[in-house]
Structures are given as structure tokens and as C-alpha cells.
Symmetry: D2
Subunit: 435 residues, 4 copies
């Protein structure tokens, strides 16, 4: 995570200020529950809420931590400075640091997931708009980077929309995976704290209580969370790769938006680099690299060891901040992508009708020409196009053996692009619904 | 995937025989749909079913492929040899090889997922049985590998159960991810085939039609599938790590089952190595390593390139066969795991009561002793235990300052293990339901 | 590792037959050393060599293993069947299974490395030949997929040569990393065997004795080995990516070789897919995925656990067989790559001279035109080319403000391609030496 | 990279200040070379050195970049503000931004490697000191976590020393890999700049000229660099894992150093957690995760795309800063590790002599007892030890069948620990040399 690839809202989730605020809320809600159970005085629980609107002094907490060498104790000491030592006495009673730390981490991940879901909604909207806009913009479909059959630019946007919609579901599942909290004590037995406290705190924070925890919340949840992010990132790379291809000089079917003022482009007007999508390709790798360590974090020793912690302190912010930035950047790219329908047509026609050779072949066989003969007929005309730059339809019309089977009108019919796009509506209905 | 770590049912899914069988079914169902649409003669469609019970000759197909250099054409040629050239003429009409290949791959993954789900059910059953069996078997909980507070062996099994139940859900989601088929032509436009064919074939194969495909089914689905397998594998490593720790000489709270006849163990009776769980640790790495390439496969060029194919030819079988084997092995390990409750108690009592120091500390403060004094009292008695091998309870009872606050009965009460296990039923109800 | 992507020599290294042969050699050499030390009778050591030319019966060994559940014992039993029980009595004395297994694994990796080095030599030769052949074949250099400045096809081959030469060195280093053997007993203390045995066996096998082993050879060596393979694979992907780009329809500067007989290409003569290099892209992922598990294998418990073994049984053959196949395939691709110099020129001239705009700009400033003015002059002519399809040189010659600074001859000089290639010889000398 | 796991010297390498300083040096040296070639005036080149001792104003450069959207231009503008527009006119002439950026990145990596090498020297020194200190400290060697045969703590340190020495060589190789610079222009042809400039700049910066570059330095170099870091990190995990095992409650053969003042430990004196080595385990994952993206960075499109850049902006600092911190932390852990020789002996003697069963078995067969009988004899006495807590040596001495073959003195001899350590000096000489 570096500022260059960060957006403020996501960064804020991972700030010390936010972290202490969540710690505070956990402690305060826990006090309420403890008071309700009669474990601590109600007045003490209420007193904790005095800090409700206080901004915690991060420097002061750091200062205390330098002495105590313990972050939660440092925070509790600072809290006592705010609400008074007498009232603070009952805060954190029966709890373990991990109760606070692990529940907080999940709150942060839930909030991060909410931002990512909103990002995804924005991307879906952009993709849908562009899909509808270019529903009928014909371009050549390519397999292996080689021309195959016609398709439309709208279908390209539509398939990215479908892919991102699946990613939205994966993000929702991922959010659910880590939307749990645990306040269950040193080894998860609730030895010193009633399960009711956990229930209350989780309810207030919008989490489900972790059915069974140890000192920590089980890390398979987090592995699944980061794995989902890795899939989303890979889809971003997929879209980015398409655009990078479309923008390359010889293809030029689309370009990332260039503001008029952007320098350097007009002396070499062809030199507009798809730097945003190249950047997205790299960002995808950064998100993806967090998946394996998140999986390595699952196997902890007995009721916990702390090997996962340094990993999460990094990949928690890194993966979410980077993915948020990448989704926003991709949305902007899609939104403003400059499409060149004329170049699409020009590219498709590069081989003067050869793209229709398959249909002609099929038509000949349907007219009773043997497959071998049909192939030979198509081939000899195709080779004239390929080698001598002839026009495929003209050659076919001039070939007596061909016209013996197909009339000129029938030949022309095989060159009708509408044939390839007649199911576009059906596909759009599948992707976007009939509305 | 090597025979040593393979089980036959899963291996069979990936055999050429199975593959050709699925190809055949796709082609035959497609013919039915084409006949229904009037595209091909009904009689021809029916004739294809003549091969219904024929075992395809894999060697023959390979032989043809050496000439044609194309696997699908080789298969179709062989099929024609069975049902007759005349009838075979309409098979595969309007279809693209990828229609068959990609749909088949997903059928295989669905079947693999079904086996994995059944494996998981077996594992869940074993974990539940052992959890109930050892619900009250006390052992020391450990954080950082260091004794913390008492827990029970049942809770250990129960948390693995909860984790594997989540993994079951992940496998179900993963199954849904790849339970789609596509028969949509060279670039996904249905140019030469009606969407009704896809609908029919998918219904027959238990798949959903892929809403929008290109030449291929989008690979984000497969990335999500393999990512789920990677999470499951990481959980297997988690359980394996626990058992390896329990079996190490100094701990010896459990052992993998050793048959009486297993050689070499009796001259060195302590030398029973947890080789199965060590093996599972390695297998987990093998499954996990497939996640990143599956994600790298997502970004294909335009409507498809074939870079994903060599990857999938390997990781498809490798990850599913290895995970199947690992789940089955783990189930067997859990089923037969030899538990040593006496050693658990002996380990816990290693420090002659020190494990209860926290409760004594708390009790003192609750009796009005200041936190500093309480700490000092506990500490001076704890150090006698630690340094001189004294018994903690005896020391406390002999300490006048302690007994001024706590009666001998109250001290004894703090050494009651029941305190730590009183919420076990609650946790079990969360994990297994109340039944 | 699947047959489709395998070559026999590398596969043979990993056959049971080869493995048993190496086991045998280790045992036989160890007997010689033991006899030399007087630990076992010389006659017994000599007798072991009776099996020198015997082909071991893998099925028989497997059969014995099913009873003994121990592979090394099964082999030794079979060996005794060949050389006689009496003589076999002293075989393996003082040794531990791992002495044999680990040393054998390293022998296999060394042999694999030797094949990879030979593969690399073949690739280097092909790259050099093509580099020299196309030293002066002008093509446009591209950054971000966008035309930049002219370069030559020879430079492209030359840089791949330089990259692969570095990879050759990495392979040599990797070979050295794992060219060690260990015969040091159960925990590496030589308790039951003299270090002289290790020294003798290693010398005979072409290995260095591992300076300090435990039960196993330390796995950082293997991690480094597989990491080197991962780098080589990534370079293969790099070359493959270049070729895939060159072959895409709109670029068509090169094509993978198509044999005349290869079917299906002539009715759609443009439809020649770069399937070999796409395949190489996937194979690179397969090799690369072995790097992380090899690194996870480094941390073993105490003097050894066996978690690494299942990983290595897979990635040992998989990574080496796949990389061997990939290197050979890439060599073939390079060897036969069809280059289209005319298309290269046509692509470069796509923008009618704009590629030289930078040089014109520079020339103007060198003639004293201010940078702002020079930029304005170049820009207004460039835009005519870009928007109206004019010819850049013609426009410049017709622009009075330009010709005030630059004569027609001077303008023409800026369009000289030789300017861009004048240092090619220097670079070639750096890469290939002056010879 | 987060402050918690960072050390200032390594962080400084990646500061904007350092980066601009290296940019400046490259530009200034390039001017000298250009002046020498007569391309720019000598006075202008000399003038650039006016900024030699100036601290660049990072905020000012950022401010300019917000306008120009180009970091190198922003820097050059700021440089012009310092040395004067007139003199600055010739700076960067004929160069491409990447000439500066890529060469700078390598300078940073070289400096990072130098720090890592110094770190490694510190670690090696600590390991050697502890190895010599505990050369003869007997402990049980363990395979599979199960007691095997005796070894010494010194051998453990020595093998880590040997492993880290290999890592030192890998770091040196890695340093060499990236110690190159390139000043070769937009596509690497030196079109606008003489190779002599590159030669001069590289010499001044301690780099070798990259034999053939494109717009960028080839990324296989960086992949190899990060792979080496990943291997080093895995070895750190290896050492950390050993210590974590040694510190676990039931083993307690060593502990990370605890300062007297460290709170919380004395009321639960057994509760000293190996948090530093657990942390190192996590840090190893963080370094290792950078390997795959570095390898994915190798395949760039044609003469360059910029997908690698965002990856490197993160993993460059992240991997080096984390590894530096980890090496320093590990050195401190090793330096101060508290070793408990008495516990080592107690652990070894846990099974009252059974650890010597193998030697007794061997002795019996050497005395002519058949292997079957010898096994039976050892077994029946071993089982008494295992099941009834008897003492192995006593039982053997009391077994008439045993004493028929071995005298009491001979039996006692088999329990001599010196047998296991008699080759320690040989091994130490291999690792540390004879000095």
C-alpha cells in the first residue's frame, strides 16, 4: 500500500484512529453487557460512554506503549485518563487482548468489503452503460489473437459485466466469511467471561458471534476472504488485458481517455499509452500475492500462535486498499474509454471477406456439395484473397463451380453481419435481465 | 498427482474413457436438440444413441489423433466408425471444439466436487464423533506453544468440525461456480447454433447455461474453484499441525493409529512417527500451489487464447485427486487417533498448579486486595513453584497474606477445572446444534 | 507432468528403474568404503557388484513393499534375492534410509539440470542464429504496445539470447546447489557410520559431501533450485509473449511454423494460431507454481519431518519434465519462426513518417528554434498526418517555418533508419562477443 | 512495509530524497560523459555539479509533478531552479525517463543487498559464537518430532550457520544480478545517445552496463533477486521454527531472552511466549509472497510495458525492508537465546535409556546373535521401560540372554553419549574451517 495507489476512505479504515475507535466500542459494549449480567456496576459501564465523542490521542497511546510494551494496555491506560481511573477499573474485565484485536480486524475487513462492494456497483454500472451503448458495434472476435468470427463490442462489455457480477457475489460471500466476532477468553472457553457479552458486542457491531473460537478467530475465514480478493483482482487483469490489446497501435479499437491538456501526445499523436490498464495489471499481481500467505496463516499452533499477525498487519491494508484503488481506476477507464467503431470495421475487413469463409463452406455443403469439394472451392478463392489481395465475395461470384451451387444473392447473404449478431438480444437478456 | 496419493474414483473422473463418455453425451444431446429444432434429421439424432453402451477405444482415438492432430475430430471419426458415416454426418454440427471441451471440463469438476463433498461429510462425521467422545477430556490450552488455560480435547475436535463445515459450504459454492456449460460457437455469439441446443445439453448434464461465454467459459469461475480447494487444503494443514504437535515425544497427548504388525516400533516404542499428518502438511502445499496459476489463467486474450489449457490439464486432476486423498487420509487419522487423557492431565499439571495463577490473582483482587499486592502475592508463590518445584496450592495455603484474603476452601475452589469447562455445552450446541 | 508435455530422457530420470539403480550404486559404493575401513568384509562388498548389470524388478520390489511397508527395505530384500542373503547381510550397514533417499533425489536433480543445461544450449544456438540472420531486419520498437522508435528483429532475438544466457548461469548455480550427498545417519552425527563412507560415495556419484546434514540434506538448497527453474520459466513466458504478439492478425510480423499438411489453415489462411507459444505461457505457470511449495519445504521440524516428501515426489518430476519440454518446444519455435520483414516495414510506416517526429523536433531545437516553437511546428504537421492521412515528410517540406530552419536534405536525413541501427554492431558484440 | 517491522537505514534507501539524489547523480555523470563526447558544453556539465550538496525539495518536486504529471520532468524542472535554466538546458539530453528510473531502481537494490549482506554477517557471527559455545551441549535429535539419537546444540547452530552462509552467497549472486545500469534510449538502440554515456555513468555508480536493454532493464534479473530473498526468508522461518519448538512448554530447551522488567511473566513464570520467532515466521511469508509477482513481471510486451512498475514500487521496499528487519531480529534472538542444557538432558532421558536401543541391537548382532533374536531381546526389555517405567540398562543387565552376548561393561559402553558426538569436531571443521 503506497499513497500513489490509495484512496482516502479505504485508508481511513486502517488508521490508528479508526482502530482505537473500534477497540473503544468493543470495550464499551462489553461493559454494558457485563453490567447487565451484574458482573460490573452499571454506573461504571455508563461512564465508559463518556469517551463516546472523544478523539483518542494516538501519540499519547504510542507513548504509553513504549513503556508497557503492550498496545491494548496502552489504550486502556489512555482511556482511563479520559474517563477516570475509578470508572476505568472494570473495563476489559475477563477479556483477552485477542478478543479486542481479532474482532476489530474483522470489523475493519467488513467495512473494507462494504467499500469494495460499492466500488463494484460503480464498475457494474459503467460496464452496463457501455454494453448497451455498443450493443451493436460490430468488431471481429478473436481466438488466439487471430481473427475468428464477428461479435460486438457490447458483448465484450456484457461479459465483463457478468464476470464482475459474479465477483460481486464472491465479495458478498467473503464479507460474510469474516463478519464474526469473538469474546471468548484466553483459549476460547469463556472461562472468565459469559458468552452473553460476546453476543451483545457482536450484535452492536453487526457481527455474528464466532461459533467456536480459541484465543483467536479461525483463520480459514480470512484465507477465504483474501482468496476472493485475488479472484476479483484476476478479473481486473482480464479486463485490463483486453483494453491494452485494443489500444495497441496496430489494433486501435479503443483508447484510454486522454484529456486535451495531457502533454506530449500531439507531436506523436499515436503515442497514447494504455498506462492505466498496464498499471491495473500490476496492481492485480499485488492483490493476488496476498492469497498464499493468507492461506499459510490458517495452520496455527494449538489455540493460537502469533505468526499470522505480521502478515495481516500488511496484507489487510495492502490488499483492500489496492483493490479499492484498482476497482475505482478500472471504473474510470471503462467510463471514459474511447471506442473506435470505424477501426473495428476496418480491422475486420482486413482480409476482404475471408472472415465469412466458414459460412460459405457450410452453405456449399448444405447445397449438396461434398465436404471435400466445398473445402477445395473455398480454399482456392481464399488463397487468391490471401496471396493476391483479391476480394473474397467477388472471387466467389466469379467462380463457376461456386455459382453452380450458390446464386450471387445466396453468396451475398453469407456475408451478412446480421447473422452473427442475431442472438445478441438473447445474451443481453441473460446478462442484464429483460428490463 | 501420483498413484501413491490417489484414490480410484477421483482418478477415474480424469481418465480418457470418462472424458470421451462426456464428449459423447454432449454430442448426442446436442443432436437431439438440433433434431428438435429441425436442423438435422431426427433419425440421425437417434442413431447417435447407438453408441450409448459402447466403450470407446482410447487407443484407436489416439491413433486417429496422430494423423488429424485434433482430438475432437479424432473422437468424432471414431464415433462415426461406431454409428456409421452416414448417421455421423450431423454430429457436432454448428459446434466448436471448445463447446465440448469446456463443458466437459466443468462436468468433471462438478463430479470431482461431489466426491470432495462426500469426503467432507465423512470427515465431519469423524470429527463430530471424536468431539462428543472427548467433550470433557481436559487438556491444557496453549497459546504460542505455551500453557495457557485448560480446555478440552472435545473442543479441539469441535473447532475443526466447525472449520470443516465452513469448508463444506465453500466446496458447495465452488461446485456452483463451475456447474455451467456453454455451446455458443467460435466466439460465443451462437452464430451457427441456436441457444436452445445449449439449454438442452446443459439441462441433461445438470449444468446451468453460461449466461455469456466467448469461445470458452470464463476462467474466473475456475479460479474461484481452485481457490476454494486451497482454503480446504489449508484447513487440513491446520488439523495436521495440531496432531503432529500432540504426538511429539514430549507432549504425547495423541498418536496416529499404529497397527500391531507395523514393524520397527517395538524396539524403540517411543518412535511412532506422525507420518500421515506430516504427509498431509505436504499435500496441502500441493493443492495450494494450484491457486495462483488458476488465477493467472483468468486473463485470456480477447475471446480466448489457449494458455490456460496446459495449466488445467495438470491442476484439474492434480488438485482434486490430491485433495480427495488428503481428506480421506485425514478422516482415517481422526477416526483412529489414539488419545492419551492421562498424558493430557500430566502435561497440564507439569507446573504444579501454576495454570491457576490467573484465577487466584483475580480472586484476590475481588476480595479487595489491590492489584499490585495481589500480583506480588501470586508472584512470590509462583516463583517457589517455578524455581523450587513446590506445589502452588500448598504454597498459597501456607502464605499468611494470601489466607488473610482467601480461605483454604476458596483457594481450592480456584483450582477447580470445572470452572473452565462449564461453557462447553453451550459451545457444542453452537457447533453441533442442540440435538 | 503429463505425457503430452514430456520428453523421454527427462521422464526416465524419474522412473522407478532409475531410482533403484541409483539406490544400488549408493549402497554398493558405501560397501566398498565400509570394506576399505574394515567394517565389513571385502568379499561382501565385491559381491554387491554382482548386480551391476541386473535390471531390478520393480514389480517384485513393489510386492515386497506391500508387506514391509518400507521402500528401502523392500529394495534391499530384492537385492538380497539377487546377490544372495549371505552377501547382502552387510549392505546398508550403519546407514539410514534418508541417506539413500536424499542423495538419490539430488542425483536425479543433477541429471535433470544437465538435461536442462543442454536444452538451454540448444535454445541459445537457435536464438543466436536468428539474431544474426535478422540483425538488420528493421521493425518498429514498441513501448506499451504503442509504436516508439525503430529497432531490429535481430536485437529482439539478441536480448532473448542474453536473457537465456543469464538463465544458463542460473541453472548452473542451481545445479551446484543440489549437487551434494549425505550419508550421515539418523540425525547427521555419523554415529554409526564413518564420514569416509560419505566422502567415497559422493565422489563416485559426482557430488560434494553435504558439510552438515541432519537426517536430511537441508532444503534451502532445493528451494533455490526450484526458484531458478521458476525464473527460467518466466523468461520462456517472456519470449512466448513476444511471439504471440507478433503473430496476432493485425501485427503479423511473425508466425509459428505451419507444416504444409497441417489441416484447416487454407480455407481461413489467416487462421494460424500461435498455439505453441500460448502453450508455453501455460507451461511457465506450471513450473513457477512449484517455487513457493519448495520454499515452504525449508522449515522442517528439528532434525527432519517428512512434510517435504510428498511435495518433492510431485514437483521434482513435474517442474523438470515440464521445463525440459518447454525449452525444447521454444527452441523449435525459434528455429522455425517465420519472419515477415515486409509486414514489419508496413507496420512501421503505418503513420507515414510520424515515427521520426522526435528526431525532427530535436533537429529544430538544435538549429536554434525554441523548444516551444519546435514543438508547435512538429505538432501541426503531425496532426495533419494523424487526422488527414498526409505524409509527414511532405508536410514538413511544405511548411515554411520548418524549412526556415531545416533544408529539405536535412529533413530527409531525419527520416534515415540507419540512424537507429548504427549501434547494433556494438550491442551484438556485447551479447555475442566480437567473434 | 510498516514502521513496526522497519529499520531506518533500509527505509532511507527508499525515501524520495535518496531517489532524487540518485537521479541527480545519473544526470550529472551523464552530462560529464556528454561533454567529454562534445555533445554538450563542458561548462554546462560542470554547472550541474553546483547541486552536489543541495538537499532537493521533495515537496517542491511533488508540486511541479501535479502540473506536469511526469516525475522526471518535475525533478528536472526543480534542478533547473537550483542550477539555473540556462545551465540546465543540456541535462537529460538524449535520455529517456526509464534510463534514469531503471538504473536508479538497481542502485537502490544494490544498496539494499549491501545492507542485507551486512545483516547476514552479523547473523553468521552470532550463530558461530553460539555453535562454539554449545559444541558439546548434548540434546536429543528428533525426526518427525520424535526422539531419535543424541546430537548437540552446537550442531544445530552450526547447521543454521552453514545454511545462512549459503544464503550469503545467494545474496551476493542476487546483488550481482541487479548491479547493472542502462542508458540506451527509448527502445534500447542508443539512437539518441552514445553508449559511452552509459559506460561512464555505470562506472561511476558501481554498476555494469546492461549488455542489451530495451526501454528497460530486463526483469529476469529482478525475478532472480526477489527469489533469492524468498529463499533467505524461508531459512529464517526454518531457524524460527526450531526455536519455537524448543521453547514450547513441554520441551523448554531454550527461550527467547526476556528482560527482567518485561511484565506479566512472573505470576505465570512459564508464560514466556516465543513471540519474536513467531513474528519471524510471519515475516518470512511476507518476503516470500513477493517472489511470484516478481516472476510475473518478467514477461513485458515488446520493448516494455509498465505493468511491472506498480509491483516494484511495493515489493522493492517491502521485501528488502522486511528482510532486513527479520535478519536483525533473528540475530538478536540467536545472540541472546537462553539455552537450558539440563532440560535437554532431562528430555533425552525421558525414556530411561531407550534412546540407546539401536546401539544395543547392533552390538548384539555383531556378537553373533541373529537379527531376529537380537530384535526380540531388545524389544522385550524396551517394552518394560515403555510400559512399566523400568530403566533400560538395568533391565538389559538383568536379562540372561542379553548378558550371554554382552558383558555389563559392554552394555554400559552402548550407553556412552561420547559415541554420538565423536564426529562433532569433523563436522565443525567442515562448517567453520579448521581455524
Amino acid at each position: 500500500m503506497i499513497p500513489r495507489y490509495s484512496r482516502p476512505d479505504m485508508v481511513a479504515i486502517w488508521s490508528p484512529q479508526t482502530k482505537f475507535r473500534i477497540w473503544y466500542e468493543i470495550e464499551a459494549h462489553a461493559c454494558d453487557a457485563q453490567a447487565e449480567l451484574g458482573v460490573i456496576p452499571k454506573a461504571s459501564a455508563e461512564a465508559v460512554w463518556k469517551a463516546r465523542d472523544v478523539e483518542f490521542d494516538v501519540d499519547r497511546i504510542d507513548e504509553i506503549e513504549r513503556t508497557t510494551k503492550h498496545d491494548v494496555i496502552a489504550f486502556l491506560t489512555h482511556l482511563a485518563e479520559i474517563i477516570g481511573n475509578e470508572e476505568a477499573r472494570f473495563v476489559h474485565q475477563g477479556m483477552t487482548s485477542s478478543d479486542v484485536l481479532d474482532t476489530t480486524f474483522n470489523v475493519q475487513l467488513v467495512r473494507a468489503a462494504d467499500i469494495l462492494l460499492a466500488d463494484m456497483d460503480g464498475l457494474l454500472e459503467a460496464l452496463k452503460r457501455r454494453a448497451l451503448e455498443h450493443r451493436d458495434t460490430i468488431r471481429i472476435g478473436r481466438s488466439h489473437g487471430i481473427h475468428a468470427e464477428p461479435t460486438t463490442m457490447g458483448l465484450t462489455f456484457a461479459r465483463f459485466h457478468a464476470e464482475m457480477k459474479r465477483n460481486r457475489e464472491r465479495l458478498e460471500t467473503a464479507r460474510k466469511e469474516i463478519a464474526t466476532g469473538a469474546i471468548s477468553g484466553a483459549v476460547g472457553t469463556f472461562a472468565n467471561i459469559d458468552p452473553a457479552v460476546e453476543a451483545h458486542v457482536c450484535e452492536k457491531l453487526g457481527l455474528a458471534p464466532e461459533p467456536i473460537s480459541t484465543q483467536v478467530i479461525p483463520r480459514d475465514r480470512h484465507a477465504a476472504f483474501f482468496a476472493a480478493l485475488g479472484v476479483v483482482a484476476s478479473s481486473i487483469e482480464n479486463v485490463a488485458t483486453e483494453i491494452r490489446h485494443m489500444q495497441r497501435t496496430e489494433v486501435l479499437e479503443a483508447e484510454e481517455f486522454f484529456s486535451k491538456g495531457q502533454k506530449g501526445s500531439s507531436a506523436m499523436p499515436h503515442k497514447r499509452n494504455p498506462v492505466l490498464t498496464e498499471n491495473l495489471t500490476g496492481l492485480a499481481r499485488l492483490v493476488r500475492m496476498t492469497v498464499v500467505p493468507a492461506m499459510e496463516n490458517v495452520a496455527l499452533w494449538h489455540e493460537r500462535d502469533i505468526s499470522h499477525s505480521s502478515v495481516e498487519r500488511n496484507i489487510g491494508p495492502d490488499a483492500t486498499v489496492t483493490l479499492d484503488f484498482a476497482l475505482a481506476r478500472l471504473t474510470q477507464v471503462i467510463d471514459r474509454l474511447v471506442i473506435y467503431p470505424d477501426n473495428m470495421i476496418a480491422n475486420m475487413n482486413r482480409f476482404r471477406g475471408l472472415v465469412h469463409s466458414q459460412r460459405v463452406l457450410l452453405a456449399l455443403t448444405q447445397k449438396g456439395v461434398s465436404r471435400e469439394d466445398a473445402y477445395r472451392l473455398v480454399q482456392r478463392n481464399a488463397m487468391k484473397v490471401w496471396e493476391q489481395g483479391a476480394d473474397f465475395m467477388e472471387e466467389l461470384k466469379a467462380d463457376a463451380e461456386v455459382t453452380a451451387a450458390l446464386s450471387p444473392a445466396e453468396i451475398e447473404d453469407k456475408f451478412d453481419l446480421g447473422y452473427h449478431t442475431r442472438h445478441v438480444d438473447t445474451i443481453f437478456a441473460r446478462v442484464f435481465g429483460d428490463g
